[in-house]
């Protein structure tokens, strides 16, 4: 599941948010990959919709990385 989710995030970053595939990295923050604040919120709206869950309020989204996002979603699904 973690690999699938990472792949889906990576594909979305490239396909919808126009991130260069060379700039992708599981441990790079979304801000470092060039997403502006609105794009990051939009990405998390998509992620919450895919998995039908709500990430914790106050999560510092711009500093999050794809790897950390995958971990957060996995925690939520287990809980």
């Amino acid at each position: 599941m973690a690999e699938d989710l990472y792949q889906r995030i990576a594909d979305t970053l490239v396909g919808k948010f126009d991130v260069d595939r060379r700039d992708l990295g599981p441990d790079r923050s979304y801000a470092d990959m060039g997403l502006d604040s609105v794009s990051i919120v939009e990405l998390f709206v998509m992620i919450e919709e895919w998995w039908g869950l709500a990430l914790p309020e106050g999560t510092p989204l711009p500093e999050l990385t794809p790897a950390r996002t995958v971990a957060l979603v996995a925690e939520k699904i287990r809980a």
Binding site: K16, F17, D18, V38, V41, E42, V45, E48, E49, A54
Partner: protein
């Protein structure tokens, strides 16, 4: 008196075609574009005039075009075509002297409706892009961003006269000296279930579900309403002296404009056409001061929506003030009613009529309404046109008349 502005570039995205030339060809061929619309299936009126095969990424040159509502995508696509047509661009202009005025009747209504549905499912699903996509100024702002235009950036709203009003605001920016170039026009994308249901509820739409292609029939005795359309028309405007100095090709000049409000009813035109009459007289007076009398007006691109009331009132006013041999057509027979974009698209078609010496026909006109005393061509006619008018009217009682010269 000299004209206020020269039209040096035209970009069109309409049901008749995704470009200026494809639109012009379809309009001159008199080929209607109304057809069943997938998005309106199951509604009382389930057909419309939609922009064919529109690829937002390609048309806007923006890989993140999904962040723009369809109406803003149309505006950016048309603006790019218009600016390229004018031979202008960020490399050759002083960005702070370039203005943008884009009108719209509705803004990003499809986005608004979609996000309202998401809100009803779960508040967390509401997109942060809702407002930057929906707001009515966003077509103008996205055009400015796409082209790097850093002068005044405005939106106009006058329902179906929004495009005509946008061009008037643009001419003011040239006249006051605030801008050297203004990218002006309008865009709307109202072929949505809510808009179609709302217009049907008003009784404004044609119900010709069995033969949608024949539904938009301006000035025809059997007309029964307008057909909802979508698209954008954008013009590049410059002072005539500036255009001449850089050797630009000029389609036509904007020589006179007048706007009035009926102050009568929010949806129906004044049955006496008093507001339209006042606007027409003032536009003709302005034209007269440039040396062209009303007898010099050889073509009118009418508002001609195909509703029983609009066409009757408009035809009566035009017949009273123009020579009997002035050709009058409504290109809405082909395109349907592009809402706020209509005024800009039709102004562009009027400029093309002057530039090319071809008067476009009124599609679907088989039996001229006996109450309409106008010369309405049903096939394109080649003839020199030195001066022409473009009429727009909108909910709220807005009336506008533009006079164009060669």
């Amino acid at each position: 008196m000299t004209p206020d502005a020269a039209i040096t570039g035209i970009g069109l995205v309409t049901p008749a075609g995704g470009t200026r030339e494809s639109t012009w060809d379809t309009v001159c061929a008199g080929r209607p574009t109304a057809a069943p619309a997938a998005g309106l299936a199951g509604l009382p009126v389930d057909f419309a005039c939609e922009v064919p095969a529109f690829d937002p990424v390609e048309a806007t040159g923006n890989r993140r075009a999904w962040r723009l509502d369809r109406y803003a995508q149309f505006a950016v696509a048309a603006a790019r075509e218009a600016v390229a047509d004018a031979g202008l661009g960020p490399a050759g202009w002083e960005a702070g002297r370039v203005g943008v005025v884009v009108g719209t009747a509705a803004g990003g209504v499809a986005t608004f409706a979609e996000q309202q549905q998401r809100l009803q499912r779960n508040v967390r699903l509401v997109s942060p892009l809702t407002l930057p996509m929906f707001l009515p100024n966003m077509a103008a702002a996205q055009v400015a961003a796409a082209l790097g235009a850093r002068g005044p950036c405005l939106q106009t709203g006058a329902a179906c006269a929004s495009g005509a009003v946008a061009v008037a605001s643009a001419v003011d920016l040239l006249r006051t000296g605030a801008c050297d170039v203004v990218i002006a026009g309008a865009a709307d994308a109202m072929v949505t279930p809510l808009c179609a249901a709302a217009f049907a509820s008003l009784g404004a739409l044609s119900r010709r579900r069995d033969a949608p292609a024949t539904a938009s029939r301006p000035f025809d005795a059997d007309r029964d309403g307008f057909v909802l359309g979508e698209g954008a028309g954008i013009l590049v405007l410059e002072r005539p002296a500036t255009a001449q100095a850089r050797g630009a090709t000029v389609y036509a000049h904007l020589a006179g404009y007048a706007a009035t409000c009926d102050a009568y009813d929010i949806v129906a035109p004044d049955p006496e056409g008093r507001g339209l009459t006042a606007a027409l007289r003032e536009a003709l007076d302005t034209l007269d001061r440039t040396g062209i009398p009303p007898s010099g007006v050889s073509y009118v691109n009418a508002h001609g929506t195909s509703t029983p009331l609009n066409d009757r009132v408009e035809a009566a006013v035009l017949a009273r003030h123009l020579p009997a041999d002035t050709l009058v057509s409504s290109t809405k027979g082909v395109t349907g009613h592009l809402m706020g974009a209509a005024g800009a698209v039709e102004l562009a078609l009027t400029a093309l009529t002057i530039a090319r010496g071809t008067v476009p026909p009124t599609a679907n006109l088989t039996h001229l309404d006996p109450a309409v005393h106008l010369a309405v061509p049903t096939v394109a006619q080649d003839r020199p046109v030195a001066a022409a008018l473009s009429v727009s009217m909108g909910f709220g009682g807005h009336n506008t008349v533009w006079a164009l010269t060669r």
